[in-house]
């Protein structure tokens, strides 16, 4: 029995790789910094996704990742990205597995009740602006809210986009179709389940970049500034940390960093492999 346990532990340790659970000191010999653990769901370009040309912690890129790096640097901590599904991100925050989650969260009353929410951060016009994408041959059709009469429009469940379609297109005769994640939505669009998908423009751009048969339309929703901005999820009661994060967000905003990060993220997402430009943790161009 003891031998078995020993074998199990040996095997377990041999499997260990640097990830958010392990607190191995930095290899370069500098004094070990405290770590800031941030959960993200890296499947949503350009906000958070994986640079497929890289491995390890470096592979996580996108606007939210830049923001996370900035926050960690401001706090003087070592950033550790903990990748997991969007649902799991929320559990990770509530169980204290991570310090916070930066993964394109928007405001909902339920979230406000169960978590500490940071101030809004502003990803850029492309994230604020909400549009629809459609198959290229149909894209020209959609110019105004009226043009959606009798059209099926897809939106991700419980998203801002769902609310927008409901409020602005359904009253004019459009039909809302719900899907669970954006990739499924894109598939359904190609299959013909609906003719258009409501998305953030930045997201739409990334989709169109990889799917030549899909185009972003000229149509835009009317949006209320406050509603569509993103915020950071923190553990209920972590007021001190929340305050600290809010100050850092304000500082980043004043420094005009948001636009810069977003441009970088879009560039990385737009070109498939992103082999030519990438950034290391200090913000320098690597490779």
């Amino acid at each position: 029995m003891k031998k078995l346990l020993a074998l199990a532990l040996t095997l377990a340790l041999s499997l260990s790789m640097a990830a958010c659970g392990s607190s191995e000191p930095a290899a370069s010999g500098e004094p070990a910094k405290e770590t800031l653990k941030v959960a993200i769901s890296p499947d949503f370009a350009p906000m958070e996704f994986v640079d497929l040309s890289k491995t390890g912690q470096d592979q996580y890129v996108g606007f939210d990742v830049s923001l996370a790096k900035y926050i960690a640097a401001e706090m003087g901590k070592e950033l550790e990205i903990c990748p997991m599904s969007f649902d799991a991100c929320q559990v990770a925050v509530s169980t204290g597995k991570v310090d916070m989650s930066i993964s394109g969260f928007s405001y909902t009353p339920e979230r406000a009740e169960n978590y500490n929410l940071s101030d809004y951060y502003y990803a850029g016009d492309n994230e604020t602006e909400q549009t629809v994408i459609a198959l290229k041959e149909n894209a020209a059709k959609f110019t105004s809210a009226e043009s959606f009469a009798g059209v099926k429009v897809g939106a991700q469940t419980a998203s801002l986009q769902e609310a927008l379609v409901n409020d602005q297109l359904v009253p004019l005769g459009a039909e809302l179709v719900i899907f669970s994640d954006i990739n499924t939505g894109v598939l359904q669009l190609k299959k013909g389940d609906f003719e258009a998908i409501a998305v953030a423009t930045g997201n739409g751009d990334a989709i169109a970049a990889n799917n030549p048969e899909i185009a972003v339309t000229d149509f835009t929703f009317e949006v209320d500034e406050a509603a569509e901005n993103n915020l950071i999820l923190l553990k209920k009661g972590a007021d001190e940390l929340t305050e600290q994060v809010n100050q850092i967000l304000a500082k980043a905003y004043d420094a005009g960093l948001y636009g810069e990060w977003y441009a970088e993220a879009e560039e990385l997402a737009g070109i498939d492999t992103a082999a030519d430009v990438s950034y290391d943790e200090d913000g320098n161009v690597a490779q």
């Binding site: 377990a12 640097a18 990830a19 392990s22 996704f49 640079d51 997991m84 894109v186």
Partner: protein
Amino acid sequence: MDLGLVCANIVKLWTNYWHIYLIEGVLTTLKLTVFAVVLGALLGVVVALLKMSKSKIVRFFITAYIEIIRGTPLLLQLMLFYFVLPQLIPVFDFNEFTWVAIALCINSSAYVSEIFRSGIQSVDKGQTEAARSLGLSSGQTMLRIVMPQAIKNILPALGNEFIMMLKETSLASTFFIGDLMTSHAIVKGATFLMLESLIITGAIYLCMTYPLSKLVEAFERKMKNA
């Protein structure tokens, strides 16, 4: 849907990202599966023996262990292991990958223990009686008489458990653990080519499971004739 385009996209994804699927994804999936099934089997033997223990209390706890693990979704167990256990037992400073592997291993142990138990119970009781009546101890009887006969039923079932686990590890992609399904998640997240990536991923899973299931089949046939 434009099938030609889908095919073209598959070729594109494969050309650009084959190493993400094959090198990282497949390797991690195999590593997780081997870890889960091999250690799960060792743990499963212990669980199976305890389940046949004479002590009612031991049997109660082991039965509870098996029923809880077999009666709840693996994803739920992964979540608990990933989020709760590292905080309950901070002594074990494992990384996420290891916690997920341990969760899979424990999950596997419950199934494997039932494989062992039914394998052992498939051996005629008369074999045990004969061995005991000759004066062999219960341990000698298990090792020399029952196990060699039970293994015929156990090995193919273990092979099937391996195949099952190979597929089940895909749930670990919830935590982007690096398995094949994680490869799919990150490729589709960066390219929004979900269908194409799914087809590639499915094909790779099939390439792993099909030869394995043929192997199990061949073994079963051989055992039947033996």
